[in-house]
């Protein structure tokens, strides 16, 4: 059969796969963008592992934005990924107080929300550990709400709850349980 005439853009297809939750799309983007990102990072004081980490971060950022409806298609996906990885690497370098020859040193922060930057690694580890101890279904509910930014109605449908009010109530209880677990590890969070 001749190729379907309905789909002209690889990017549109990749984005739609991401919307459907197909992580294979990210693996495809990883393969396509590994080379330029590795070149960028390794030529600017980084290792290949650093480069792979930046690429993964950029891909997760893309995933997050698409899944929450915040992605705006203003350039090819390869360009977005390269620019995001570059900004992230610049930020990491700036944090490590290194000099970057040949490229700007004021990284734009449009690829990471203030929320993502507000907690330190140690604090993040405490919350992560508490979330793991929290167990299901609270863990899933909080992930759906805070990470995937699903609506209460959508969470109700996905988790088999009666309605949005039930989700709100359950979310409140889950949050309180989580806060209690966090306090056990870090009393200053009380």
């Amino acid at each position: 059969m001749a190729p379907s005439p309905l789909f002209a853009s690889d990017d549109a297809r990749i984005l739609d796969r991401i919307r459907k939750g197909d992580e294979g799309a990210l693996a495809e983007l990883y393969r396509e963008n590994r080379k330029p990102v590795r070149a960028l990072v390794t030529r600017n004081s980084g290792s290949e592992d650093d480069a792979d980490d930046m690429l993964q971060e950029a891909l997760v950022t893309l995933w997050e934005r698409v899944a929450t409806g915040r992605f705006r298609y203003s350039a090819r996906l390869g360009t977005f990924i390269y620019a995001t990885a570059r900004n992230m690497w610049l930020r990491r370098l700036a944090r490590a107080r290194r000099e970057i020859p040949g490229i700007a040193t004021d990284p734009p922060a449009d690829d990471a929300s203030p929320l993502d930057l507000m907690i330190e690694d140690e604090e993040s580890e405490i919350i992560r550990s508490a979330l793991e101890r929290l167990g299901e279904p609270c863990r899933k509910l909080l992930l759906l709400f805070y990470w995937e930014e699903e609506s209460m109605e959508s969470i109700a449908a996905q988790m088999g709850m009666a309605n949005a009010d039930t989700v709100k109530s359950r979310k409140y209880q889950c949050k309180k349980s989580l806060e209690a677990l966090i306090r056990e590890r870090s009393p200053r969070h009380g």
């Binding site: 059969m1 739609d16 939750g21 294979g24 298609y73 919350i127 449908a157």
Partner: protein, 342 residues
């Protein structure tokens, strides 16, 4: 929403969450900021909410990164690498044969040729140049200033989404009961494949989407459970959201036409009388996709003018025509994703 200082936001869960997730508009955010400036309890509540949101998001990101790492670790190495290894192996074999020949015949020398480079050197140098990827870097530096390209913007139709992969809680509204056969009794129909026609086009049946409006109909009947209501609301909103995001970018590439169902012949004549499906001929000319719908009840010029392609996914297209949504779903093996893999 906290309208004044007497209305503490510390107990407003919804507001705290929307603030933390950046879902407030500027005016709302400023009100919260003004309020928290004079309310230490509210400030603490907001900070707790933001820390939890940040922690949960980081957990989600890390989990996805880990799955991605595992996935790519089990896949082949980047495209350029195997070619180098093959080239190196070939060079090694050729060099080995040369050494063997020189040793066996007593001719030639084992030293490298004077003034020449080893065969791999040129390849390695060109690889370095490739990896520089200057065009990509230039593009990346321009990324914030670029206008949207002419290629299709991101598009999607959740109506056709299937539960696949490990990730995902993304909105889905699959309806597994829809049929995609263009005509009954044919080989293509029995296999679920769209009918191919000479000239590269093909036939497909659109399924009239009934989810949108179903809630109102059910409510009018006086009976809809909470679960049904949620599911229907969710589905309607998902479709509408997709349509809002994609219609402008996609519209220029599609031309919708209508013909009366009576113009259908043969096996398609029967499906043309089916009120739940719309036999459609799909043809590609240049960059324009023409979809000719055969349906008597929609033969209204105004309907046609207002018709539009609203969403495209790997295996489906959603068209709105005459106030109805029509879903075209392509069976496994015929969608865009499969076409790309061939």
């Amino acid at each position: 929403m906290a309208d004044d200082r007497d209305n503490h936001i510390a107990s407003d869960e919804d507001l705290l969450s929307r603030y933390a997730l950046g879902r407030l508009n500027e005016a709302e955010r400023e009100k919260v900021d003004r309020h928290t400036a004079g309310c230490s309890a509210c400030t603490e509540a907001l900070q707790r909410e933001m820390r939890i949101a940040a922690g949960v998001r980081r957990l989600g990101r890390e989990a996805l990164k880990e799955r991605l790492r595992r996935r790519v670790a089990t896949e082949p190495r980047p495209a350029g690498r195997p070619r180098i290894l093959i080239a190196a192996a070939l060079v090694g074999v050729i060099a080995g044969l040369g050494v063997y020949y020189a040793w066996f015949t007593g001719k030639g020398s084992l030293s490298p040729p004077v003034g020449g480079s080893p065969p791999l050197a040129g390849r390695t140098e060109s690889l370095k140049q490739d990896e520089g990827n200057a065009p990509a870097r230039e593009l990346a530096e321009r990324v914030t200033a670029e206008k949207p390209p002419e290629s299709p913007a991101p598009a999607g139709a959740h109506a056709a989404a299937n539960q696949e992969g490990s990730a995902s809680h993304a909105p889905r509204s699959a309806d597994n009961n829809r049929r995609t056969e263009p005509s009954r009794g044919s080989t293509a129909a029995s296999s679920g494949a769209p009918m191919e026609e000479p000239g590269g086009g093909f036939w497909s049946d659109g399924i009239v989407e009934r989810a949108v409006g179903a809630l109102d109909a059910a409510a009018a009947r006086g009976g809809v459970s909470a679960g049904e209501k949620n599911a229907l609301l969710f589905k309607s909103k998902a479709l509408k959201k997709e349509a809002d995001q994609t219609k402008d970018a996609l519209q220029g590439q599609y031309l919708l036409r209508q013909k009366p169902a009576s113009a259908l012949t043969g096996s398609r004549e029967r499906s043309g009388r089916d009120q739940q499906t719309v036999p459609t001929r799909v043809d590609q000319r240049g960059s324009t996709t023409t979809m000719t719908l055969y349906l008597d009840s929609l033969l209204d010029e105004n309907d046609l003018k207002r018709g539009r392609v609203e969403a495209v996914s790997d295996d489906s297209v959603v068209v709105t025509l005459g106030g109805k949504k029509i879903l075209y779903r392509f069976p496994p093996g015929q969608g865009a994703q499969q076409q790309r893999q061939k």
